[in-house]
Each structure stands twice: as C-alpha cells, then as structure tokens.
C-alpha cells in the first residue's frame, strides 16, 4: 500500500534510528536511515524522500536544523519533521521558521506519529496524482516535441501522422519562430524513415556557391580549398529526410538544380559528372510567402509546385493564444532545471501580461522571454514585474511597419541615417549597432551619399 513512499530517518544514535525505521517499515514504508547530517545529504542527493525525520541534536558536524536547510536547498518542498528530546520555544520557532512541517518532542504518542505520517503521505499522494494528471493532460497536447491544444495545430499533428511515411515533398510555411523545423522533425521521426538520417540545411546562411557544394557535395580540386572529395547534405540524408530551411532565399540557379533533383531523384557533385541516385524525402520550409514570390517572378513556379505537394501552414502564436499558458509552463519547468532556479510557475498577472503581448517572434520569442524573466526573478513565481520588458517590445513592434513601395536599398539607407544620428555620427558605435563591419558601413555611406 505504502511501498512507493520512502522515508529517511536521521539520528546519530543507532538504536533511535533503527527502532524508528523498523516501526515505520511495519507500516509498509521503505525506510532509509542516516547517522549524520552529512550522510543524510548524500542520501538525499541520490533520491527524494517523502518524509525526513531529523533529530535536532547531532554532535558531529551539522545539526538538525542545518541538515533540514540543506535538504530544502535540494528539494524546496521536502517535508521535514524535526525531532527533539527537550522542547524549547526558541528551537521550535526556528525549526518552523526554516520550514519544518512539524516539530515533535520525543517520546511521542504512537497515534500522533501515525496521524502525522498519514497526513503528510496524503498530501504527497495528492501532489503525485496532480503531477500525473498534468502529464497525462500534457501528453494529449503533445506530438513529438511540439505542444499545442489549438485546433489548427491538432489538424497539423493529424496531417503529419498521415503523411509521415509517404515520400511526397512537403512545404512548411510559417513565420519565424513558429517551429517549422520541429514539424519537419516530427514528420521524419513519426514515419518509417525515423531510423535514417534527418539533415537540416539553412539555405539563407550560405552564399550561392557554398550552398551548392554544401547540398550536392564536390569533387576534389573543383575550387580553391576543395582538397578532397566531399559528399553533400543530400547524400548524407540518403534514405532519410532533408530539410531545406528558408527555401525562399535560394538563387535562380539553385532553384533549377533543385528542380532537377526533385524530378530525377539524382544529383551530381559540384565539378563531377557521375550521377548519384538518391532516396531522400525533401521537406522545405520558408517564412516568406512563396506564392507571392512566384507572382513576382522571384521563385520558379514549377519548383513551387514540386515542393508544394503537401502544404503545412503553421499559425503564428498570436493566432493560438490558448497555447501561451501551456507553453510558458513547460518552459518554466524545463528552465528551472536547466538554470537551477526553483521557480514553480507564473502568476495570474504574469500570464495576463503574456496574453496581452503580440509575440512577433512567436514560440521562440516566448521561450526567450520566459528565460529572461527567470534569470532576473527573485521569487518562486514569475510575476508581471518579471515581464516588464515586454512593454517596450510591444510598442516597437506595433510602430514598426515597412512603408509601402520602399526598396530594400532605401530601407538600408534609412536604417544607417537613423542609427548614425542616434550615435552622434560615431562610426564604430553605429557599425556595432547595425551589426556590420566598419568598412562596410563606410562603403554604404559613400554609396548612398549619406551626409555625416
């Protein structure tokens, strides 16, 4: 009945701890004992106990209250019962102040101890049940690593399950930070290619020629630095899945190469003539609207149709606000472990603040915001004060809108002019703020004829 709960008895006197342990074992509890505070901490580090019975007076090393405080550093919710032979008001007060659940004077009536143990275990059982139910509930909202209870997202989960074992190309569209890569991974790992490689390539991170050799590999001596033959990401993904992220950013030449790969299921290494036949499932992702790009002639229509066999559009976070509390809670749980901060949740006010915000950076921004709040938080719960930084961000996000019919060059010019003014013409500072080299900045100033 009680076998799942473990109790630790800490007392320097062997007879005391062994008789107490034996008495508790008769009730069905698994009981460990420790002869000193130090031993108790070693055991506590290895596992969590439901109840700690700690003798107040232990001659060697740390006493009962110190032991309790150390246990509480490891498990802030630990139920510690302090035991003493002589009751003094001072020690009782300090024990309770430091978080003892009970302070008992021995010898104690057996009925009292039974009731106390029963009471604590009842609470522990409820807590455990609560955690279990929450996990169960969460499981309902979880698909692979994606968490949502939004109806549209649920449809996506369903679709992913249905298509995961097909070979058809998938196009995933969605704003930055919505989790396009997670969906691509979910497709791969829930299908029959799960034990084969999943390779992700960001197409916007590399220059055209580099990207080409990255994707298709190259033969030895093809270009300076090509000292040996190197297989590309397509070859590495053979049998599995390749994710081409930010597909909207690739050059016309690469668009054509890719079209050929999709049609012929073959590749040639850069500088090579040997054709390599591959079995790779292609999943492409983009945050730009590819239909628009096709209309404007920036993206090949035939490639678009090849990619867009199955289309998944991930809604931005502002269209699935119901996920914010769920996601935020999960981030708090995960980060509290990673950051080693015992933060247990988010206050009503904190949640409201999050619900009022627009989240242009979507789930990724939410995760970063929770992390930032947790780093500065001094309590056990995140409150609206911890999310004050969202105020300014929201204002900026609302005010910032790209003026109509403005070219990229004009935008760049504006950005440089404004930043220069803010930095009082300081080139070094301006370059740093804009994230560009000083030489590039000088170039642009010259090119755009910006007065200084």
């Amino acid at each position: 009945m009680n076998t799942q709960w473990e109790i630790l008895v800490v007392d320097d006197e062997e007879v005391n701890r062994e008789s107490m342990a034996a008495w508790l074992r008769e009730d069905g509890y698994f009981v460990d004992s420790a002869a000193s505070g130090r031993e108790a901490l070693e055991k506590t580090q290895a596992k969590e106990y439901a109840i700690y019975f700690v003798d107040l007076k232990m001659p060697k090393g740390i006493d009962g209250i110190e032991t309790m405080m150390e246990i509480k550093k490891i498990y802030p919710d630990a139920s510690v019962v302090i035991i003493t032979a002589y009751a003094t008001v001072d020690t009782a007060i300090s024990a309770m102040k430091e978080g003892a659940i009970e302070y008992i004077v021995k010898p104690c009536n057996p009925q009292e101890i039974s009731l106390l143990v029963g009471r604590i275990i009842k609470v522990k059982n409820l807590e455990r049940e609560n955690t279990m139910l929450r996990k169960k509930l969460l499981g309902q909202y979880q698909f692979q690593d994606i968490i949502s209870k939004n109806a549209k997202m649920m449809e996506i989960f369903q679709l992913v399950k249905e298509i995961s074992s097909m070979r058809s190309t998938v196009l995933i569209q969605g704003e930055s930070g919505t989790g396009k890569e997670l969906v691509a991974r979910a497709i791969h790992y829930s299908g029959d290619r799960a034990d084969k490689p999943f390779i992700a390539v960001s197409c916007s991170a590399l220059a055209e020629t580099l990207l080409e050799s990255e994707l298709f590999g190259h033969e030895k001596g093809t270009f300076t630095g090509a000292i040996s033959q190197k297989p590309g990401k397509f070859e590495m993904a053979d049998g599995g899945t390749i994710l081409l992220d930010e597909i909207g950013d690739i050059s016309p030449k690469l668009q054509m190469d890719l079209l050929r790969v999709l049609q012929e299921k073959k590749i040639y290494r850069v500088g090579g003539s040997e054709e390599i036949t591959l079995d790779v499932r292609v999943v492409a992702a983009t945050h730009v609207n590819l239909e628009d790009a096709v209309r404007q002639g920036r993206f090949r229509e035939d490639l678009f149709y090849r990619l867009n066999v199955i289309n998944i559009h991930i809604p931005p976070l502002r269209e699935r606000m119901e996920d914010i509390p769920l996601l935020a809670r999960i981030f708090v749980e995960r980060l509290s472990h990673e950051l080693g901060k015992p933060i247990t949740g988010i206050s009503e006010g904190g949640l409201k603040k999050m619900m009022d915000y627009g989240w242009p950076g979507n789930v990724r921004e939410l995760e970063n915001a929770v992390e930032r709040a947790m780093v500065t938080c001094r309590e056990h719960v995140l409150t609206e004060n911890d999310f004050q930084f969202l105020n300014g961000a929201k204002k900026d996000a609302q005010e910032w809108e790209i003026p109509q019919s403005m070219t990229l060059e004009e935008l760049e010019r504006q950005a440089i002019v404004t930043t220069l003014r803010r930095c009082n013409g300081n080139i070094k500072e301006t370059a740093l703020k804009l994230g560009m080299d000083r030489s590039t900045l000088y170039d642009r100033i010259k090119k755009f004829n910006i007065p200084r």
Partner: protein, 183 residues
C-alpha cells in the same frame, strides 16, 4: 518441519505461552516450542522512563535463538518502548527472524479496569499474530478487522479480530510455503 520458538523473557504468563503455542501450530503448521526463559537484559531498562527498550530485548532474543529456530517470538511481561515513542505493544524485524511483544498493556488492570482473563488472552493472540505476521513480510493492513491492521491503542487492538484477512492470509501462506521449498 520448521520451528517457531516462543521465548519467555523474565517470567511472562505461562498460560499465554500455551495458548500461543496452540494457535501458531494451527496457523503455520509448524513445530512450536517454548524456549528456556531468558532474563531481561539490564541494558534494556530505562530508569527514567521505567520501561524496557524493545530493540535490546529483540537483539538478546536473536542471540539466544536456538539453532533450529526459523522464527522466535520473545514474550515479555514488562512495558516496552522505542526512544521515539511513549510505548510499543511489540516490535518485529520485517521479513526477519525475530519479534518481541509485551503483555503489560494488554491487561485490563493496566487501564485501572477489572481483570478480564478471556479478553487478555484474546489480545495476546492478536498481538502475537500481528508481530509474527511482520516477520513473514506482512505490513499493516487497511482492512480494519484484520489482525495486521495498525493498532496504536488498546481500543484499536480490541477493534480487530484474531484472524488474518483473506489477502493477508494468502500472503502469509505464500511466505510460509516459500520457506518450506527453500531447502
């Protein structure tokens, strides 16, 4: 045949020992013997509390255990305690070889009530079955009439029957028969 030894510590009520011998012969199907009486170890006495510490008697009983004994139940007339608690009716090694029980608080006169021999012997049976049950690995039972139910007061002892409930009986039998097949 396996043996259970009932070990008188000091000079406990002889009839109580006879009743227990009979009861355990039936219950376990073992050879139940009454061992030579043992004096209460001095170390067990706590002058301040005017009680005897259960664990010292338990240890002495284990030491004095006859070679052929599979289990030993020390029966003592004196009142027992463990440091943490004001008293205990008895104490056992869970899944172990030995247990100890006290007769002191099973008597009506302990509570300043008229002597009632029948009630006393019934209580003796219950407490002995309870402690021996622990040595066979049984823990406290949630069935309140079961002899393995937790009893911290004489009222709770009286509230249960001198019987193992269905599931405790099965567990006890399993444990007893697994011992028989051990050798």
């Amino acid at each position: 045949m396996k043996s259970l030894y009932l070990m008188p510590v000091g000079a406990p009520d002889e009839r109580a020992l006879d009743i227990l011998k009979h009861r355990f012969e039936q219950e376990l199907g073992w050879d139940v013997r009454i061992a030579h009486a043992m004096a209460i170890p001095n170390v067990a006495y706590d002058a301040k509390r005017e009680q005897y510490e259960a664990i010292h008697i338990l240890r002495a009983a284990i030491e004095a255990m006859p070679r052929d004994a599979e289990r030993v139940l020390a029966v003592v007339d004196a009142d027992l305690f463990i440091p943490m608690l004001t008293f205990v009716f008895g104490q056992a090694q869970l899944k172990g070889k030995a247990a100890v029980m006290s007769l002191a608080r099973l008597r009506q006169d302990y509570y300043s009530l008229p002597v009632n021999a029948a009630l006393f012997y019934k209580r003796v049976e219950k407490e002995a079955m309870h402690e021996i049950g622990h040595t066979f690995g049984l823990t406290h039972c949630t069935e309140k009439h079961c002899v393995m139910a937790l009893s911290n007061s004489i009222q709770q002892v009286d509230g249960k029957l001198a019987e193992y409930c269905r599931s405790c009986a099965i567990l006890l039998q399993d444990s007893v028969s697994s011992l028989a097949t051990d050798r």
